[in-house]
Symmetry: C2
Subunit: 414 residues, 2 copies
């Protein structure tokens, strides 16, 4: 039996984890693939001479492109440049590519899927949306009998860690962020996490797969968690829930889809409210399955390598036949995306120097919340469901007296 040769692009955290995992569990990996596999190349610019894999190192992508023996390439560099051109070239040579690169899939997914099909090879990206959590394969295989109506999840571990600390340990945002950085959960530049861009890329990938047309990040209204205060967290906890950064996409009654990334009050009865620390959880709603949730680590060296390895095994089993259900169409515009301002949801609002009567006069029947050490001139409440457009108009009446306003995550009705 001939050995399938793999090239690994990038020997950073995920790349080294993938190589390590492969050699640790090689016997069972090959058994599950039904084929012999080995890693032939590792593309890395940094010196690898202090590693045991130095003999596999190349610094030139052409070594891999020109080697017909290599049929599977794992792109673990991240970012668009040079990953995109490397991946594209590999696919054009008929080499199947697996990647953990959410930015690449969110920006170029439709194109790369098409390129793979045209060249009779596969493009897999299990690690790009849920990290270690089996998500992509369940969505297009295990739930293939369903019409999926919506997906909503906690898709970023750093922000979930921060929000957990703000609720459980009553830390403020900046202290929690600092701790996340000290523990190595957050990048030095935490903007992509905090502002929701990381979750946005993931919901783009999920939305594209589930609803069949590419959702580019610029189509998605995205709000981060930097404005969340310890006071908001305290209200959420007293209310019996938690604040979570939720990435979601749902089919609307207009037939369009609504992808959205925003912090939200999540009630205690929703499983997502129990996803804590750096863990991620993704709830999927389908017409037959009702709701299913997938929970686990959304990042990390070996967890991400686990997802990459499942793709490598599937690529080996595929015999170059692209998976029929792991696909979506490209799109030239955002005409399939609904306006989030028309979405109907409840809102949490925290005010200063607004009376309960004024609140009721403006918002009608609301649920007032409380917290310990609540200032006498503070009122917090949850509105009845309302479109964001109408909510904004009402909120304007109080202008600077609004301390916070946060959406309430509605449990999706099937």
């Amino acid at each position: 039996m001939s050995v399938i040769k793999i090239a690994v692009l990038g020997f950073g955290i995920v790349g080294s984890g993938t190589v390590e995992l492969f050699y640790r569990n090689r016997e069972s990996i090959c058994k599950k693939a039904g084929k012999e596999l080995d890693i032939k190349y590792i593309l890395e610019i940094r010196d690898m001479s202090d590693t045991e894999y130095t003999d596999k190192q190349t610094t030139d992508i052409n070594d891999i492109l020109d080697d017909d023996e290599v049929t599977i390439v794992a792109e673990l560099i991240g970012g668009i440049k040079p990953a995109y051109s490397f991946v594209k070239s590999c696919l054009e040579r008929g080499k199947s590519v697996v990647t953990s690169n959410k930015e690449l899939v969110a920006e170029k997914g439709a194109e790369l899927i098409k390129t793979a099909k045209q060249n009779n090879c596969c493009f897999y990206f299990e690690a790009s949306a849920g990290g270690a959590i089996p998500l992509i394969r369940p969505l297009h295989q295990c739930l293939a009998g369903n019409e999926i109506t919506s997906v909503a999840g906690i898709l970023n571990g750093t922000t979930n860690f921060i929000l957990t600390k703000m609720i459980n340990d009553r830390m403020d945002f900046n202290s929690a962020l600092k701790l996340a950085q000290e523990l190595g959960y957050s990048e030095k530049d935490p903007v992509a996490d905090i502002e929701g861009h990381d979750a946005c890329r993931k919901i783009c990938i999920i939305a594209s797969l589930v609803f069949g047309r590419h959702v580019y990040p610029e189509y998605v209204h995205c709000e981060g968690i930097a404005k969340i205060t310890a006071e908001d967290a305290a209200y959420a906890e007293n209310w019996g829930g938690a604040i979570k950064l939720i990435g979601s996409v749902k089919k609307t009654s207009s037939g369009k889809i609504l992808p959205l990334v925003r912090p939200a009050f999540v009630c205690g009865g929703n499983q997502l409210s129990n996803i804590n620390d750096v863990f991620n959880g993704i709830m999927v709603y389908g017409d037959a399955v009702d709701e299913v949730m997938f929970y686990g680590r959304g990042a990390g060296k070996m967890p991400t390598a686990s997802a990459v390895m499942s793709d490598i095994i599937d690529a080996a089993k595929s015999n170059g036949i692209p998976p029929v259900s792991l696909t979506w169409e490209d799109t030239a515009d955002s005409s399939h995306i609904a306006d989030y301002k028309d979405d109907i949801t409840s809102f949490y609002v925290r005010t200063s120097k607004v009376s309960k009567q004024q609140i009721i006069n403006t918002f009608g029947d609301v649920e007032f919340l409380s917290r310990n050490d609540m200032p006498a001139d503070e009122n917090a409440f949850i509105t009845k469901p309302i479109t964001e457009r109408k909510f904004d108009v009402k909120l304007e009446r109080f202008s600077r007296k609004i301390l916070s306003s946060i959406r309430v995550f509605e449990q999706i009705e099937i």
Copy 2:
């Protein structure tokens, strides 16, 4: 393109749900299979003339066996007789079989997998272990890069509903069981649920797949929930956790595996403690992935049909090539099974007329628990980890003064 013809065996709850789901979502199902599919036969003894599928009815399995056009058979009858002989005959004719029948897979899985391989067809059973929850496919595909060290889950919805009612609504066991029956969650004869036999079959399937050798139900120590009292539930809640019926299997240091079904105290920090009502949840521990959990409905008409449909789609895609990783070996004895008496775990114990000093003298350092309206002569505590064998010896000293003893579920360390 020729149409793949399916036969459905049994038009009961799951059978009718599967047929209904197929015709409801047929277009997208065929798209995801990459092939045209249709249902040609429904094997059912009861009169189907009041259904829209009466023209597909047959009462004779030979109509299906003898029809070469039928290449996929969905066995949704349940039980061993006649399902086993029907499935075996179908596989021997080279027809791929998908089933939701946990009893069949737990008793005959290894044999049927072998028969399928010998006849170049597939045997799929996604619905048999987790109901609607994607579990079998994630275990052997998505987590294929891992050495899975253990799996632990809430695998039976009826008992989880009862335990949830006992904790949340302070119902006693019999009232909660009665409510489950009234709501249609439990069979008229609830023994298979209550005594843990249903969860046992599911853990047999999971254990066989994960560790590669068939685990027959008689190899598994299995305890049900009939002895759990409202007092035990109250102690668990005060302790910050819940009592759950846990089916689990883990690799032990001896290299053997330990499958076990038993009620257990689950601490609040464990995700399984948050799985309520009829929902199921299965936690999987792997050397790379750390922990992942799958959550959803373990039973029900359309949820189960969802899982069956994913198998039908995979069978259609397979072109008769059996999945290399969905397999295990048969076994002639239980020499691969560890003795549960050697397992080390903490225990919850509730005593009457035993002093704290007597408890400490016997068990050493323990954690005493409390509950509302606790009788003065009652003491409840949690022991340090100890083998069950040693625990039994210590417990004997108090003989009839023991009101309850329940294992504590240990979060598995990777």
